[in-house]
Structure formats: structure tokens, C-alpha cells
Amino acid sequence: MKSALTNACTIKLNNFEGPFDLLFYLIEKNKIDIYDIPILEITEQYMEYLDAMQQLDLEIASEFLVMAATLLHIKSRLLLPSKEVTEEEAADPREELILQLVEYKKYKEFSQYLKEREAKWERVHYKLPEPLPQIAFYEELEVSPEVLRDCFVKVMKNYKDRTNDVSRKMDRILNREKVSLRAKVKELLEVLSRGIKICFSKIYNTAVKSRLEVATGFLALLEIVKLGRAKVEQHETFGEIYVFPDGTDDEKVIQ
């Protein structure tokens, strides 16, 4: 028996995909009903296979050993019914194994079906695509003319900003050396010597002078006020600063 079995399985041995596959082979070979597996016989045959594999020096994958343990466990439970049977244990110990085998069988059958379909559809031939020019066509552009107009105004605005910025930067660089507190005090005193009231912003603002000049001009004004050479008035925060030389009246204001 053993040697016959050994011979029989030498051919197939390597082909078993796993323990389920081997069990299946045994079930079909013995013409057993999958729903009512005679565990004693099957376990015995399964162990014989493993033994044969060992004799042939084949490496036995761990999954086969796990299944062997499962089979032996089921066998022991069937042989030695416990006296105190819990409800859970009352179930057929083969149940889980059978469920797994049925599930596996389903896919094994389907894989056979896949092979058949593949064999048929392998006989079908396709044609290479013709070289087609890839033409990109665009969906309608929907833009209002105003968008174009606004875009242009914005671009020009940015341009002016940028060029303005550049020229002011240039001015600042060129003016840097000229700006000194002393020079601004002198400049302001000259204006005040005409004896008229002046608006600070008319002389110093960033549209016509660099920031440094405006700031220095303001420091110069503070200096002059400190020296008692002028008085200042401001009616509201951030409002215009009026500068009065000593003894001038309101009528004569520089425009």
C-alpha cells in the first residue's frame, strides 16, 4: 500500500498547491462526499503523503504541517467525546474544515473555468491600431471683452507701478548724499524767511521728494520749532501741518 502510494504521489507531489489541494485530491481519489468526510481515513492518507514526501527528501511547507495538526485534532475530538460537552463543542468538529474546503472548491472550480475561457479567447486575434493623428481641439472660449480690457488696465498699472518704483528707488540712491539735517533746516528757514504761512505737505511729500527727504524735513521743522523760529498747528491727527514764521499773518499762504 505504502509503496504504491509513494509511487502514485511522486508524480503529483510537487503539484499540490497547498493542504486544501492535497485534501481535495484525496477526497476525489476516494470518491468521498465532501460534506461527510471520513476523518479517520483521510487523516491517515494525508499523513502517509507527508511521510512519502519526507522519504523523497522533499521540503514540506509549514502549511501542510498545520493541516496535519488540525486533522489530528479533529480526529481526537471525534474519538474521545468529552463527558462534559459544552454547546460549542457539540458541533461537528469537522464543520470549520468542511466550510473551508467548500469555499476553496468553489474557487478551484472557477479557476478551471477560467482556464477553459482563456483557451478559447487565446484563439481570438486583435489588430494593431492604425496610426491616428492626435488632434487637440479646444472647447469654445467664453470670455467677455471686459475681461480683456481689465486685464490690460491691470498690466499697465503694474507696469507703471514698477517703473515708478524703479525711478523712485533711483532718485533715493542719487539723493542719499544730499540729504542732511543741516541742509534741510537751512532750506526751511529760507522759505520761512519770506514771512508767510506754509503747508508742510506742499514742500515735503513723497510724490516729489524721497522719503528720506520728507523725514529729514520733518526733523528740520522740529529743530526750527525748538529754536523758536516757527510755530506749528495741526487741526486733526494726520491732518495738514501749518508752519508759521514768527509774526506772520494768515493771509499770506503759499499755494
Partner: protein, 183 residues
Amino acid sequence: MESIQDIEVIIEAVLFAAGDPVPLDKLAEIIGHDKKTTRAIMTSMSYKYQNSARGIMVREIDNGWQLCTKPEFDEYIAKLGAVRKKQGLTQAAYEVLAIIAYNQPVTKAYIEKIRGVSSDSAISKLIERNLIREAGRDDAPGRPKLYETTEEFLRVFGFSSIKDLPVIQMHEIQEVMENLPLD
């Protein structure tokens, strides 16, 4: 107004030139009909090719349509030479493919639970053959990769879509439970 026959003739030319499957949307756009009408035309056309004296037929793949030769002429085509035979899949690969096809997207752990063996090499082989691909990750702990079948799978096995897979009786398991002889 074009007759159905005129449209079928246009579609024949278009599918011939395309070689690859042409999506339903694209066909509908080309013939200037809605998708429902186009699908009806394609179904009828497919039937006509199948049942008339033609060497070629129309097949549906994943909501697209493609011309191919009828399988019965393979032996003649083989005489042209240069017919490449693909390397076959292993039994393990077929089993893994079967499990993925019915349960996609599915994790490796699930596949291995059903097969009872490690399935890494079969999975890599199937990916290499472009029959399956990764499909994101499962929410389960460890966020394992999920696998699904590809359009190439449909093409190779002659399915028009995943819905085309034969129904496996899932209630079979239920019956097993009921029929277990409890001794």
C-alpha cells in the same frame, strides 16, 4: 438622417481603425447619438457579426467595444506565423485570480485564508502579467494592500465586464451548514 445600417458601417470603420477597445462615450460622440442608443446599436451589431458569415466579431470589454477575429479561425491565422504563445499561468495563479475576481477588491490575507497557503509569488506573477493591480488599501489594521482585476483580465478571459462572471452559488455554504450530519 443616417439609417442604422449607415451607422453600423461607420462603426465598423472606426473600430477597425481603433484596434483597441473604443469606449461607449467615444462611439456615441462619433456617431452623434446618445449613449443608450449607441449601446443598443452595439448590442445588435455584436449579435449580427456573431451570427453572420464574418471572420471577425465585435466584443465588449469594460464598456468599450473592439473588433477581433472569431476563435474558430485561429488555425488559419496561426499559419501566418509569428503567433506568439503566451506563457501559461500556474495553478496557484489561476486560483488567486479566481479569488480576486469574485471578491475584489481583496487583501492578500483573505486570499491566503481561502487557499491555505502563501500566495506572494502568484500575486506578483499576476501583477507582472497585468491581470491584477493594486487598488488602494484596506481600512483594517496595518492598512493592507487591496487587489482587483484589470481590463486585461477581461480581455484574456473573454468577459465583457466583472458583472459578466458566472454566479457562484454563495448559499451553497448555508446548505452545507444545514446538511452537516451532527453525530
